[in-house]
Symmetry: C2
Subunit: 393 residues, 2 copies
């Protein structure tokens, strides 16, 4: 046998492992002290009542022969796809049910989508970025080039006509920077993709954190996007489903390569290598779109957004450059002059007992930056900001 030798080209992913080791060592040395964790992008609030109720009800259905459900339809149950269709319709985006694919989370779909593309595509990925985009392309042996995001462009890279790109990854609101593209910026990307026969893979996992009504939640709000974009979304951050696993991918019929609809390729990929999402989870996801569900998940997001607002206020006071926090659960800030991301990590852990994520873990342009997340409690967030202000005064 031969293995896939492209795996040898992957960079070792020591980021969260190294963080865990450093935190464990500190905790062992200071067992009585309280460390505040703002490093990992996982949610902490429980599932909302509408979701819990739907789960219990669906579980009871699975307990009786008359209401038991076996294999799910490949692309998901109509009751959930209709709810997703309705969610898009509220933003003026009209989708067919066959254009919506229910999956077990945006990470799986974003990782697996590379299957439907040929090997010789030129891939363009923002730097800094969620490492999955790069790693899945390295595994497939594709050439990756990077789109510089930095203070000058507000961590929102834009196309230029000299770029060589067939597959373009965009994430807005961005992980890790929290920066959000506006309509004009996304229109420029769509126009570029249409002119150059490129496809945009649009990661909208954080769309529910957008508070500014002028910002697009979906790339399909942009004219022409159905002909050049695939959108990935998730219930992880919208409804706290990180441990439940449900997301959806949208590919419009208009997206074609020659005569072939990409929708049919993805449908075939999923029918062959995936077997649908848990019935109970699909009922839980549908409950998110009910009136009660929407109100309840908005309340949870408002809770996290209040944390983000505290962080924004603290960083304005501290005076370090930052982005994010206003339409995103992430704050991305410059570390103090003369320090690297990891030096700041150590200083923050040892002197303020707060854990964050060094920006250099997300790409070369992340060096000198740092990510903090708003997924903790109000109390912890407030205390962490006091500690930061004291440290950086």
């Amino acid at each position: 046998m031969q293995i896939n030798t492209n795996y040898a080209n992957l960079q070792d992913s020591y980021l969260f492992l190294t963080i865990a080791k450093k935190v464990a060592a500190y905790t062992q040395a200071h067992p009585e002290n309280k460390i505040i964790r703002m490093g990992i992008g996982d949610v902490t609030q429980p599932l909302v009542p509408a979701v819990i109720e739907a789960m219990h009800k669906a579980t009871d259905e699975m307990a009786h022969k008359e209401t038991f459900r076996g294999y799910s339809p490949d692309q998901g149950y109509d009751f959930l796809r209709e709810a997703i269709q309705g969610y898009y319709a509220k933003r003026g985006v009209s989708l067919k049910l066959s254009e919506i694919f229910v999956g077990d989370g945006a990470k799986s779909d974003i990782g697996n989508i590379v299957d439907i593309f040929g090997e010789d595509n030129r891939v363009l990925i923002p730097d800094p970025v969620y490492p999955v985009y790069v790693d899945t392309n390295v595994m497939a042996g594709r050439h990756v080039s990077y789109l510089d995001a930095n203070v000058q462009n507000g961590f929102l890279g834009m196309p230029d006509e000299n770029m060589q790109a067939d597959i373009i990854y965009l994430c807005s609101p961005n992980n890790p920077t929290g920066a959000v593209y506006n309509r004009a910026q996304l229109q420029a990307w769509v126009d570029y993709a249409l002119r150059h026969d490129a496809v945009i893979l649009f990661d909208a996992a954080y769309e529910s954190f957008i508070a500014d009504d002028t910002l697009p939640h979906s790339i399909f709000e942009i004219e022409g996007a159905k002909r050049c974009a695939i959108e990935f979304c998730s219930f992880s951050k919208t409804a706290g489903f990180t441990g439940v696993r449900c997301g959806y991918t949208v590919i419009a019929d208009e997206l074609v390569c020659g005569e072939t609809q990409l929708n049919t390729l993805w449908a075939r990929r999923q029918a062959t290598k995936f077997n649908g999402v848990n019935y109970i989870t699909q009922r839980a996801a549908a409950a998110v779109f009910t009136q009660a569900g929407q109100q309840q998940v908005r309340d949870v997001i408002a809770y996290y957004r209040k944390n983000a607002a505290m962080m924004v206020e603290a960083f304005r006071e501290i005076g370090l450059w930052f982005t994010g926090g206003e339409n995103s659960p992430y704050i991305w800030h410059k570390v103090p002059e003369g320090m690297t991301s990891w030096e700041f990590f150590d200083s923050l852990l040892n002197r303020a007992e707060v854990v964050g994520t060094p920006g250099s873990g997300f790409g070369k342009n992340g060096e000198g930056f740092f990510r903090l997340t708003a997924f903790g409690t109000h109390e912890d967030t407030a205390e962490a900001m006091e500690r930061l202000k004291k440290l950086l005064r």
Copy 2:
């Protein structure tokens, strides 16, 4: 952009679509008649009480901040992997926790495992077979050769030294034929793989239907298998999880290619393109291994096995050649002399109002054969067998 042109080499999968159309047409013409469906391999009995109880309990945990769980560990929670480890230990197979990967079903893992292998492997797949093995390799552009299974070898193909194979798919108990390899036969495969540096991808999804104590449930019961095999298993048929989605894949540390452990490649693949299984589902799966859970799922399997026993008895009376049924939920039988699989399908539907699956849908060696499943009720199975006996008398 360029698409993956290998998808154009896939055969259209009209099998179940054609069956559905023919059944719909017949139902429309005879709305008052009772059709008995023995075509699809989906379960019909509800989830057992131990599983339902675990689901409700875990759902309640997700409703409270103190017990809420976010992202699962990449390879699954220890409580489930320890239960799986204990299940293997009962058969004398000793596994490390790090050798067990919890996933969302055997189909996903069997489909995705191709990612970790290089392009130039020679792939050997039994014919007839579950179509996923072939399709996932065609999508990856690999050359596939076939291992003939037929009446002469009891639909259990064996290795010969002239075969060219780097990756070998085996499914035992087999889908669609229900045939099961014995220890000596699997030992021959393991010995072949070790001599030729090949890897065996062993699909054990139907292991819980094995009644004969002398037959192996796991390839790891065979000497040397840890150095040449990957095993895929599932709760779908064991515990009726077709709509719940949980399975597991085992890769021992001893399985290496040069210096590289395949375990580390798969761990990296899953950490990059997968985000773990639903917490509630993992609790439900762990409940399958409790004393109550084991008793309850064995009762359900005994229910299906009684159907299979009725089918075996009927086919002995009818006198058509068949395999399966004794250690499998499938009966694979010859159609009457002079008929094709599809002609028998039409005859069975129109004259006995019973639906099965034409063997030709599983590969060229399936022509002239037919698959019936034991996943119905006792009443329907008994009636279907009476209808078959009458039709074939």
